[in-house]
Symmetry: C2
Subunit: 321 residues, 2 copies
Amino acid sequence: MERFVFGADLGGTTVKLGLCREDGTLLEKREIPTRTEHAGEGILPDIAAQVAALCRDCLGDGRELAGIGLGVPGVVMADGFVQPCVNLGGWGGFDAAGELARMCSVPARALNDANAATLGELWLGGGAGAQNMVFVTLGTGVGGGVVVERRLLAGAHGSGGEIGHIKLYGGEGRLCGCGSHGCLERYASATAIAEMASQRLRQDGAPSALRGVEPVTAKDVMDCAKAGDALALDVVESFADDLGRGLAAIACVCDPEVFVLGGGVSKAGEFLLDQVRRAYLRYAFSTTRQARFGLAKLGNDAGILGCAYYALTHLPAGDRF
Amino acid sequence: MERFVFGADLGGTTVKLGLCREDGTLLEKREIPTRTEHAGEGILPDIAAQVAALCRDCLGDGRELAGIGLGVPGVVMADGFVQPCVNLGGWGGFDAAGELARMCSVPARALNDANAATLGELWLGGGAGAQNMVFVTLGTGVGGGVVVERRLLAGAHGSGGEIGHIKLYGGEGRLCGCGSHGCLERYASATAIAEMASQRLRQDGAPSALRGVEPVTAKDVMDCAKAGDALALDVVESFADDLGRGLAAIACVCDPEVFVLGGGVSKAGEFLLDQVRRAYLRYAFSTTRQARFGLAKLGNDAGILGCAYYALTHLPAGDRF
């Protein structure tokens, strides 16, 4: 019998929800606001209500939901315990999937949101067909997920794939939001690209198409670099060099067949891939040099689909289907 | 029926061999010279002869060998192909385990030697009972192995756990034997400790118990640091800081529950663990700070036992036992 699964990708602003077939076809998707007030007490009831509504609208005829995957913006421990989430006003500190399962009377499993996007891209996106993959999100920060033999590397304390906090530099590095210095995401995120360009514009008088743009964004920098602007190219090369060195370090640990780049910066497309691949080869060891580079393909659906895939591949053994 | 497995740990100078029960008890072990002449054509026949001899001496009574694990000092691809091994005069470039299996009429599997030692320590040594572990050998170089949910992370190109070549520094770093600059093993190996101490002794006139020792070894530096020698302590703190930052980067990828330190430098014991743990905590992210640190326990037997364990856990499905 065909199985249906539900993905709920819980973010700081909205929850992205979708009901899909086991081949990944989305029957319907929705987006609702994340209500973080009152310690987020409405979050799970809101999701449960959407689960009920979508199943009522799209299933029926004896077709039932097999499971729910819940992506959360924080650390999920091996036993399902969700650490309090900074971006959700501290929501968490309990077994969120267990609670959601009770509300919906369906098995549910929680996972980290970056890991969910990783699984989505592995299932149906830039990593389709790969056995070993590293997903890298280049956005406000740098996030990631590691896949080994088609399984997520969750880690002993739920921090597998937290690649944005690799210390690329020692104590003299840039201060990071995590309280440490020299983290990869202070050199390789969209935020870092914009900051580096702004700083260069202030510090030297070189002509640049970026001069006068206020505020400068990572997209501006990428666009100008593509057009040959020297200052923008300098910034992109510095970003790519640091990212390439970080990815080469990751490859010395888990040796993936493909790196899939996602997040806002990945909209720079082939130009980004070329820059990062070239920098990677400066630092990559031995056979890890054979790793391929690809772009994320699923955009905002990656999280929903990855949650659904996680549910599908983690159904309890006693599952009736 | 009880199963017996054979471990053969092939090194540049000797092959360490052992026959053991499935609980890891060694019935007998031996060490024979590695004959690298004539492109190492005698290596596999020598091992096959030892397999036959040990089985004849220790088994009998209808007790048969279930499998052989072969550790090699080089990269082993997923299909069993062994890349040519630099330390064996280029021996390799073929399916070594397949060849050994044909010679011995018993299933055989090859794996990288650092991975073999990792599995040995996971099975019966410093990582016993762990699900997720990183083994770090601090010797002439820095080697390692990564275990995820009790399985070796081999990687897509056989380079999983090649942690000695994480580029801790960019282009300005020390030159490594691999041809790149800034590799972890140029800062955190026994070789690096001895070199750093020698350089300090040449460069400044500070008093030190190491002065006049020729040549200075990593053991000398560790012993003097334990005794409070300021120059030696400086060197050890620099070594530990770099190693701690490297291990913190590894934890951002695979988040182990325990780091097991082996190799010659690990003989410094608790003093080493204290230094490395303190440095690790300067750089470790979030819940990866909970990782434990332990010492390798099996010494030279780690390789033999790890090879045997690999054979035991990778017997073909159609295996008669």
